[in-house]
Symmetry: C2
């Protein structure tokens, strides 16, 4: 099976597209730009959801649900936000089909069922949510309001790619309201940290925390925090954003509260989200030419067991041993699949589970029965060893933990060797061309420079790292003064 | 607070509308017909989701996700289904807004961004899913295909009510494909049983299992199984449906499989769903004039503890005892809230938690500290008793189980006393008018009779009960022969 997979070396982009489909994560649908998330891919997404949801609730947030549609007049209330999304909105204009009088069995839009006001399919929900918050917030006692929503959103992207950029995608969007600027800023930073923690410790994807430049900021935000990951082809991927909205939406939707002294003030807001795009980051961070490599935390199947046999008697003997092993592993909360299909050979099964990224494979044949051993193979390193039956369950548990750690370390090492400091535009272009990755360089802080660099090289400022050191320098393009380096990269 | 609630006696419909809003379950949004599900309501929905999802997975189903939009040509492929939903579809016709040249700061639909083909916002997903299944099913080895999706759907209802009938609602929709008719029928029946089990044992709502008449069947189905519940005002509510689709969608979307002999056959299908409508059923089955009554299984807060005190010293003493109690209860997986707000009196708190339906309230004052007791109040019976501190945790655990059982029994008793057998149309109308509930009557099996009864009385055939006995009789309207009774009722 995996023979058909284009290698990363040959064509990274093609490798990705093929892998997502062949590993049964997702596929394109009959609807332009919209994907079908297949059961195997969705099972991974469910694990992400469960962990994020737990983290959101642990930090005091509650879930709620707001409408899919936003009336046009509501949508345009916060002007910058509206401008930012106006060019990629799906718009509902009618509410009924009728039989086509000229074409039996066909339907047409009923012109008599035109909406008085068009509805925008939410590209993000600030407008509908802040228009609701107006009714929920009267006094400082109603604050902070800490709400999250799991939802689908639609952005009419012209060039789409499975998970990375689709017209419809799934995400969560947090929307919080606070009495003070300091508290809202703290919330935005806190949620960026939650995302970073999740990416690194659950998905094994190292990320850099930073602030977006004004150009790259969310439309309607005063500050956008982000986490940026680096893919194996040297391109960056924005893996999550958390916005400090100032009082922009509170003013647009007239959301005020009476403070402890009874004085009316506008509320301060944040919003933050991660999406099914993380599935793309997952694939591109860890996987290889044989297929997916899944961190054990996210693997729908953590251990697959393949019997090696010639006779039915051997199979029966093996199955008995496997049943014991499976129960022992399940007791340790390890998800196990016994692949005892009789119509496929072991080699085929090995390739299939490699393609699907199952972290650990156990093979067992008559020799193993005799020796009371198993053959244990790691998906990430493609290494095998023979392990004694005694204590195999805790051995596997520890192995899975080790794989999780090793995947992060490997990705981190790649990332660390792909941050290059440059001090001239020539060097910048050279590194970008030859090596890719993050390029740490001085920038004069203007949007004009940022744009010229982007137009010349396709690299954008991914972020101003939160942990950057103060360092006087000169902008690589203009030579104008700079107070510290920012990170550039080509990005997804 | 609860003083403001209209009583059921005064106006059942108004009572419901007020209660849903006052208890913080949901509210109307600024978008016609669409609701906001508030955190407290959403927490209940999450508990339903978690349990249903567990039940679906236990019966071998996997989750996936399919697009929100259905191109018109795909939508109309299965004609009956398309006809059934055409009159209430939200239709996307454009994909971009632009600045209004005549009105600065305003946006208008960009006429240059008209879609070549209109997109229907899914009212249900058979079309998009069966068009996908065509690519997933080649051989009998690919069957059965057992998939569920959690999603939002849109039906442009003209008269909407929170949870019961909204333009957008949340639901799950199962879509399965099978090699044989018998297996598909078995699946539809199985999922009806899963729904009945869930309604009765998790939501404490008794239901009658049955088949819909042809008139009431899902558009595109060959048979619709349903569960029907009875609300306190004597009106029925369809709480879930499971459809046997025959080969209708397989034929419309050309989904065939090679059977074991290599012969091509059309696939057999089912679909089944329950929605946020169940929230309405929950409210209307158990609640009373003081507010919500929640079965412990569904209550976001199962136990609320209210301190009764005059001095801060007393409060400190009480809080110490409450901390111990809370930990003991949490160890038994009971969700507890300690309402130690200092700006509200106990009476206000009692009313608030009654309104919100918390199953058990514990009050503790200085006398209780002295006597080593608690005052324990049941929300469902509004009864109180003094309980000794020793063994209070297991006492509460058992009490919660008892409340769950009692709520079901109470609802069952109401239902059982509201199924009336009648043998004439006069009697039918009388019972319908005076008492409501299910009316068990003979019907001649024709759609014409069904419609006349509906037009005359507003009662519809809720179902042909699965457990009905063979009984020769005469149709209450026409006198024509009938082979058994069906259940009529006015319905939500």
């Amino acid at each position: 099976m995996s023979k058909n997979l284009t290698t990363r070396e040959e064509d990274y982009s093609k490798w990705y597209n093929e892998l997502v489909v062949k590993a049964d994560l997702a596929e394109n649908s009959g609807v332009r730009g919209c994907m079908v998330i297949k059961p195997y891919g969705y099972a991974i997404w469910e694990k992400m959801q469960a962990e994020l949801d737990r983290m959101f609730k642990e930090t005091g947030h509650q879930n709620a649900y707001f409408p899919l549609f936003v009336p046009k007049s509501m949508f345009e209330a916060e002007e910058k936000n509206a401008e930012g999304f106006a060019k990629e909105c799906a718009i509902v204009t009618h509410y009924r089909l009728k039989n086509d009088p000229d074409n039996a069995g066909k339907l047409i839009v009923d012109p008599n069922a035109k909406l008085e006001e068009e509805l925008i399919v939410r590209p993000t929900s600030e407008a509908i949510i802040w228009s609701t918050y107006k009714g929920w917030i009267q006094s400082y006692r109603d604050l902070p309001l800490l709400i999250n929503q799991w939802a689908n959103v639609v952005r009419w992207e012209m060039r789409t790619r499975l998970f990375l950029r689709t017209a419809e995608f799934l995400w969560q969007e947090g929307h919080t309201a606070h009495a003070t600027k300091a508290e809202a800023l703290e919330e935005s930073e806190k949620m960026m940290n939650v995302y970073a923690d999740f990416a690194e410790n659950f998905m094994a994807i190292p990320v850099i925390k930073g602030l977006k430049t004004e150009t790259e900021r969310f439309a309607g935000a005063e500050e956008t925090y982000c986490i940026e990951a680096l893919m194996q082809d040297g391109k960056a991927l924005q893996a999550g954003t958390s916005h400090f909205l100032g009082q922009n939406f509170a003013k647009a939707f007239d959301v005020k509260f009476a403070n402890a002294e009874g004085k009316q003030e506008h509320v301060w807001g944040t919003s933050w989200g991660v999406s099914t795009r993380l599935m793309g980051a997952l694939v591109m961070t860890h996987s290889d030419d044989k297929g997916l490599v899944l961190p054990p935390n996210l693997a729908p199947i953590q251990v697959v067991i393949v019997p090696i046999y010639k006779t039915e008697e051997q199979l029966n003997e093996i199955s008995a041993v496997v049943n014991d092993l499976s129960s022992a592993l399940r007791k340790l909360n390890i998800s196990v699949k016994y692949d005892n299909r009789t119509n496929q050979k072991p080699g085929f099964k090995f390739a299939e589970w490699e393609l699907k990224g199952v972290p650990v494979r156990i093979a067992i044949g008559p020799k193993d029965i005799e020796n009371r051993t198993f053959e244990v193979a790691r998906r990430d390193t493609l290494t095998k060893e023979v392990v004694s039956k005694e204590g195999i369950d805790t051995y596997i548990k520890e192995l899975l933990q080790q794989v999780q750690v090793d995947l992060f370390d490997k990705a981190l090492q790649y990332r660390e060797t792909h941050i290059t400091e440059v001090n001239s535009f020539e060097e910048f272009k050279e590194v970008l061309e030859d090596k890719g990755g993050f390029i740490s360089a001085h920038w004069d802080g203007t949007a004009a420079t940022e744009e010229e660099i982007k137009n010349t090289t396709k690299a954008t400022i991914r972020c101003i790292p939160l942990n950057r050191v103060d360092e006087a320098g000169s902008c690589i393009l203009t030579g104008n003064p700079s107070v510290g380096r920012v990170l550039f990269a080509k990005a997804y």
